[in-house]
């Protein structure tokens, strides 16, 4: 086995006396859809925040193709190819849909003030626009390109969040609860989009509560409980794993 594509090892985060994530380790294969699940408060989102550079880990490493990316700032992690989305509809609500996607192209077409004043960046602008429209088209939003992002219906807003990430042409996309607040129809449509995304070569790491979506979507699933690694496997194994069932059902009294 060569160097793992994305490797998390010994990842730990303490907030004062609380250890939110404790020595977590798992590997994500290239081109896979990898799920990260666990009961409420298991530390999934904290893990996400550490991988994406939003938090600095107290200990442990995140490696992308063998290169350590933990402890870098969020934009530095993004420039190495790991782009995240946020819970809820985090968008540039005041900008148009197209402009949202254009911000996503920032890394590939780095803006330059002097070129912008003189007008030497016409080619970059065309390229960025093309890339943004491509991402919008992928998520079926091209028809809404000139609407204000804040005016879109919820499902479209979630899709736009992913389109912004996709416009950045990431190697890994971290999706933080992309199915929250979606009806079954929207969920199914979103799942189809994620398969399409994976087939285009993007590795996806997903945190999600919607078990139907997770089981149907993921190639492998890592389960966390109380900040620790619980188990890992393909959806079939996880569904029937006694520890997982205990964590979800037996753990209720701890969680509540």
């Amino acid at each position: 086995m060569t160097v793992p594509f994305l490797e998390i090892s010994g990842l730990t985060k303490r907030f004062g006396g609380l250890t939110a994530v404790d020595g977590l380790g798992f590997k994500v294969e290239h081109g896979a859809i990898h799920g990260l699940i666990g009961p409420n408060g298991a530390g999934k989102t904290t893990t996400f925040n550490m991988i994406s550079g939003f938090y600095k880990p107290t200990a442990g490493q995140v490696r992308l193709r063998g290169e350590e990316i933990s402890g870098l700032k969020m934009y530095e992690v993004a420039r190495r190819g790991v782009v995240r989305t946020f819970q809820h509809s985090t968008l540039f609500a005041e900008l148009t849909v197209l402009e949202n996607a254009l911000v996503g192209t920032h890394m590939s077409f780095r803006p330059n003030v002097f070129a912008a004043i003189i007008g030497w960046d016409a080619e970059d602008r065309r390229g960025a626009r093309g890339r943004a429209e491509e991402a919008l088209d992928f998520f079926g939003l091209l028809g809404h390109a000139h609407e204000r992002a804040g005016d879109l219906p919820h499902g479209h807003q979630r899709a736009l969040g992913m389109a912004v990430a996709m416009a950045a042409h990431p190697d890994v996309m971290l999706l933080d609860e992309p199915f929250t607040g979606m009806n079954p129809e929207e969920t199914n449509r979103m799942m189809a989009l994620m398969f399409k995304l994976r087939d285009s070569g993007v590795t996806i790491l997903i945190v999600e509560h919607d078990m139907h979506a997770v089981m149907g979507l993921c190639d492998r699933i890592t389960v966390m409980n109380f900040g620790r690694f619980l188990t890992e496997g393909v959806p079939q194994e996880i569904r029937t794993h006694p520890d997982v069932i205990k964590a979800y059902l037996g753990g209720v009294r701890h969680v509540a």
């Binding site: 969020m74 946020f86 920032h106």
Partner: protein, 331 residues
Amino acid sequence: MRNRALHIIGWPALAAALIALPYGLSFSQQEVLVFLTINVLLVASYRLLTLTGEWSLGHVVIMGVGAYASALYTKELGIYVPISMILGACTAALVAMLLSFPLFRMKGFYFLIGSFAAGEIIRLLWKRFRDPFGGPKGIKKIDPMPDFDIGIYSFDFFEPISYYYLALVVVGICLWIMWRIERSPVGLTFHAVHWQDKLAEAAGVNVRAYRTLAFVIASGFAGLSGALLAHYIGTVNPNSFDIEMMVFVLTWAIVGGTATFYGPIIGAIVLTILNEVVLREMGFEQMRPLIYGLLLICSVLFLPKGLESVVQKVLARRNGSGAAAAGEEQA
């Protein structure tokens, strides 16, 4: 097509109006016109700073940095005035760059207070050090702009009208540059940093670098406006860049509105006209801070989106079907 025709007719018409304007004014009004032109640059540069969502209380002091720097370069080093003006602008940008290191560790309200403190420190330095800043009395007898002749018009800088033309050209070029920046991908990134800095960062935007960039560019233009002022009135002192002046700039920006490029400019023009024409004629000049305060409160209460929202409404009504075009303008 209609838009294009508007551009071809509109801009030259505006230019002609601005060139003809001083001939309809008295000498003292011409002087006010010069100040107004300089202030338009100041307030427009302030808007550029606010694009990333940070409001500063140090902008007028930064303008002063440009004024002091340009004055000192001509007086102490004997540099040719137009060049020292540009150097003054660069100095203001450089000072802003240095200030950005401590200031951009803060956001929002803390940045506001921090910028005020930084500005006061600079002002105290001017007061404290007689050499070279001249202490509380400031610098006097700053070299004026040298007269020159461009064939069709001969500039005599003892005449406000000549200085007005100079300022008009300089400010016009600066506004054009700022407009280009705002409409470019750089400007879009400024907006992105303003609305959702976390999402922008996730897309690979170095948020702090962009905040600094907006601050530095805005400060450069503010410095240039200060230099224009210094070589016009021939004297600078710490009190001409105090918090009272900053409050005027804030009032222009808020009353005009900061959502559009022209909002703060409208604010500056309308309030200056109000101030000069109405208040001075009526002898209320001394009550200017009071009336500005009242206006600020009224505009927040009754016109929260500023004078620009009135202009937008008028434009939208005239265009009728061109509502989409108005939407593009806003963006």
